[in-house]
Amino acid sequence: MSTIEQLQSVFRDVFEDDDIAISRTTTARDVAGWDSVMNVTLMISVERAFSLRFKSGNIAGLKNVGELVDLIDRLKASA
């Protein structure tokens, strides 16, 4: 399963919406309920799903799902 496919199941779980379909260009504006609080819940769930740890500097400034996928791949490769 690719990173983005795995990420999609995390999104569906966190936002409790089985119809969510994400792509690299998806942003917070495209997903109902993706605010600052839910963003932290999402990131914690991503950490658990991919067994990695984010730093605040990693997350601040992420513009879209594509940048999150790249970050996950980078952290997985360096682990």
């Binding site: 932290v40 819940t41 984010f54 605040s56 997350i59």
Partner: protein
């Protein structure tokens, strides 16, 4: 110098003319740098030294981080302590003297230290650069002139938007061409901003002052004052931002949007995504996220034995830390601290309720318009706490009998509310024109004459409303 002073019109006309007459990017940047320091030092020239010092410290910090990446966190910490230390020194000196007057010598007690205009804003603006260089989200700026301009650019210097280096530095490093479209759009935005400040906010302001200072108001007067201040704060602050963005756009530099119709928010979180966006996102990136994810915080929030942690409590803790920081930044009186905690509590309550709403219900969009007025009520109460420095007085006034009041008191309350309706109506009309009318007229022949007529009306309203003592912008005091 303030945007609503007549001197600013002459200052900007001169800068604008010279700026576009200069062919080179370097020359344009130097002119903007000189103009920014002149703008800032117009009233108190010594303030330029403080601005220069804060900017220089962050510039040097960026270079030091680039040279010694392994010491980046320590350099950021030292820069934070130095910059925030200066800010706190100016901001809380009065509070410190009041609190410790019994033990302080006479020579310290008589000192009067005012807060230099815009100190908070350019401190945060510069710190964003140092932190982002350390996070490797932006490249270090080697050119001192360009960095000094980033640190002091006059349209956003004294009250924001609190810009980011990733938006500003590439613009200062790229050639800029004059565009008639940008001039028209920037002029329209600045005029609309001046209208909101001078015609709307400054008209409501005396009513709000009178209602908040009244020694014996009725319940209706208290709430009319709170609603009046809510409308005034938006018209004033978003008006300032529109003038800043409009003047900057005329110079070919785009500043970020700072307000996105915040009173149409349906939830507390949505409100902060729409209100003072540049500062809310600054807090999110540099306070809230570190409060959630820094290794230091993780150490003491992890549940012992499991290594696991609860997202709800983690976000709640971070929310309270962030909103408390925001409250403390706004001022040293208790009302600001309570205001911060109030907003954190509202966001937490909303999150807790949302977690109990069934999946199906969450997807129904019709509920939104039920929650907009509720959130507006939450905002109005927050604004009341923000404006009323005495918590005891605030509590006693909010608990007054809603039906009591003399005929005169009801007239004062309804007059203020009528004024709020007119001002609010103007803001709603502008939103409707922007979203539904202008996109249809833009390409038609009638579009340009209509737009010019509207601007002329705005300009007439602005110039006929300018008072000899125009109120300062509300956010100048922070």
């Amino acid at each position: 110098m303030s945007f609503v002073q007549v001197e600013f019109l002459g200052f900007f006309a001169l800068v604008f003319s010279l700026y576009w007459a200069i062919p080179s990017l370097r020359g344009q940047n130097r002119l903007l740098l000189g103009a920014s320091y002149l703008f800032y030092g117009w009233i108190h020239p010594w303030m330029m030294a403080l601005l220069g010092a804060i900017t220089l410290v962050n510039y040097l910090a960026g270079l030091a981080i680039e040279r010694r990446r392994e010491a980046g966190d320590r350099i950021v910490a030292a820069t934070l302590v130095a910059s925030i230390g200066v800010l706190c020194g100016f901001k809380y000196f009065g509070w410190f003297v009041d609190a410790f007057s019994a033990v302080l010598p006479e020579s310290v007690r008589i000192l009067q230290v005012g807060l230099p205009l815009g100190l908070s804003f350019y401190t945060f603006h510069n710190l964003a650069y140092t932190i982002d260089v350390n996070r490797q989200r932006v490249r270090v700026e080697p050119n001192l002139e360009t960095y000094l301009l980033y640190g002091s650019y006059f349209p956003q210097l004294v009250a924001g938007p609190v810009e980011r280096p990733s938006n500003m530095l590439p613009q200062f490093n790229s050639p800029r061409r004059f565009s008639l479209e940008a001039l028209r759009s920037g002029l329209g935005l600045a005029l609309w901003g001046a209208f909101k400040k001078i015609v709307l906010a400054d008209t409501i302001s005396p009513f709000v002052d009178m209602l908040f200072q009244h020694p014996d108001p009725s319940w209706a007067m208290v709430w009319a004052g709170a609603i009046g201040f809510t409308i005034q704060a938006l018209a004033d602050f978003s008006g300032y931002t529109d003038i800043a963005r409009g003047t900057s756009r005329m110079l070919g530099i785009e500043l970020m949007r700072n307000f996105d119709h915040p009173y149409l928010a349906a939830t507390p979180m949505e409100f902060w995504q729409r209100w003072h966006i540049s500062f809310s996102t600054w807090l999110r990136d540099y306070v809230y996220l570190p409060a959630c994810f820094s290794p230091f915080v993780r150490r003491w929030i992890t549940v012992p034995g499991t290594g696991d942690w609860n997202p709800f409590w983690q976000t709640t803790r971070a929310l309270f830390i962030t909103m408390l920081a925001s409250g403390v930044w706004h001022g040293s009186t208790w009302n600001f601290i309570v205001w911060g905690l109030y907003h954190a509590s509202m966001a937490t309550i909303y999150t807790a309720i949302l977690a109990r709403v069934p999946k199906k219900r969450k997807k129904e969009k019709g509920w939104r318009w039920l929650f907009v007025p509720i959130q507006f009520g939450v905002t109005v109460l927050g604004m009341y706490i923000f404006r009323e420095p005495s918590l005891a007085r605030a509590a006693s006034r909010l608990l007054l009998n809603p039906f009591a009041g003399s005929r005169e008191q009801w007239i004062v309350a309804t007059s203020t509310l009528s004024l709020c309706l007119i001002a609010g109506g103007a803001l709603v009309a502008a939103l409707l024109v922007e979203r539904y009318v202008w996109p249809r007229l833009r390409e038609r022949e009638v579009g340009l004459p209509l737009q010019t007529t509207l601007w002329a009306c705005l300009a007439i309203a602005v110039f006929s409303s300018v008072r000899t003592t125009t109120t300062d912008f509300i956010y100048f005091q922070f």
